[in-house]
Symmetry: C2
Subunit: 218 residues, 2 copies
DNA sequence: AAAATTCCGTTGCAGGCGCAACGAAATTTG
DNA sequence: CAAATTTCGTTGCGCCTGCAACGGAATTTT
């Protein structure tokens, strides 16, 4: 129950909204919390997304079923994460992705129209909500642009170096990365073993040094 | 002068705003039109983007200067396009990109804070503006996601087929694409000649047929 | 219409990289 | 602590693909 409000406090969408107002605001928005059991769908491909979802408990998967029947995992969602916001804002008629529970959990669903069109009793925080939504979408845009530039590099070497340099630009020449090898390979969209090979080369050539997931640019 | 309002009519940001109201609205927003001569910067890397820009005349370039001094072209902007909206919405302190004029032209600059915080005299269309902005950012998000999935494919064959299939899903089994070969190679982030080779193979194996930029899935 | 320029397909080459398989190290489980 | 499982580095193989160069086709320029 109050693990909910705890989670809610860390949700980007509500940044800047005092906890005291939050419950009333959610009421005003017509928020519903729904218990979802494992493998149950919160959003099915083909449907129209009418709600913005926020994960409160459990783990959820965003998947896309390809033309050839392959199911690819696009993202995993943890408490505090939300989903379907882009689909709602862009008013996409048929969602290309599905969202389902990887384990029993709960989500909060916010009717998008209520987010968009402020209710009659002017909740003072409504504009804040829209502002946050704009910031969230825009931030994701910028992240995506970075990743696309990364993926446009044509060699593993350039992809890795570009990634490491971008992290270094924020954290300094020595830093740890939030990825395991396999996850890093996924992120760079390259083969894991080929990534290991290239990292070894970069180390041998004296460009970088690393141990586990701690890296150092030389 | 009225080529301006003509262009403005096709700007996504103002969709649903009647032309009659547009001029007053722009006034209310504090819009300024600025003449820019070739090679002049509208936004310099490192600066904070305070305005959303709309191209009225000319051609503008979005570029990023890499660590190693390389300048890469991220996008070209034509009349009706706009820029810096993500940077504004995400409140990025230092723009990673620059925008400059490829030829003499004019841009309209909208102070972002005026877009965000409605002016005292309630312009009825203000919420429409925010709604449009949300839709624009969200649509870009979805486009980017698609492109990222594309770029995550590990062979030219899979990238091309995925691209062609996504176009076919919208236009049918026979369709034309809006790219020249070189542009398509750029979009897929592969070598042009390698792309031609793979296309030839796909045709030889009977998977596709094409002539110029008209394609057909078999 | 000729010349020039751009666009595009083709090809040889060499290195890059995906793939599979294996083994060591690390972590988890019992 | 031993066994089991996962993670990660290594390596051989062979295809893929970037690169460069060339020539033809198409388009533009004069």
């Amino acid at each position: 129950m109050d693990s909910y409000t705890e989670v809610m406090g860390s949700v980007e969408l509500f940044r800047g909204v005092e906890a005291a107002h939050l419950r009333a605001m959610l009421q005003c928005l017509g928020a519903k919390t729904v218990a979802v059991s494992k493998d149950q769908y919160v959003l099915a491909a083909g449907d129209k997304a009418e709600h913005v979802g926020i994960v409160l408990e459990g783990r959820f998967l965003v998947v896309r079923d390809d033309i050839d029947g392959e199911r690819s995992l696009l993202a995993t969602l943890s408490p505090g994460d939300f989903f379907a916001e882009a689909l709602c804002c862009a008013a996409v008629a048929e969602s290309p992705v599905s969202v389902l529970a990887d384990a029993d959990g709960t989500v909060m669903l916010l009717p998008f129209q209520r987010i968009l069109h402020t209710c009659t009793s002017a909740c003072g925080h409504h504009s804040r909500l829209l502002e946050n939504m704009l910031a969230i979408l825009a931030s994701k845009n910028l992240l995506f642009q970075d990743r696309m530039e990364l993926l446009s590099q044509k060699s593993i070497r350039r992809r890795v170096m570009r990634y490491l340099e971008s992290v270094a630009a924020q954290k300094g020449r020595e830093f740890s990365i939030p990825f395991s090898r396999e996850e890093l390979a996924d992120f760079l969209a390259v083969d894991r073993s080929a990534l290991s090979r290239e990292l070894a080369r970069l180390k041998a050539e004296g460009h970088i040094d690393y141990w586990k997931n701690v890296f150092k640019l030389l």
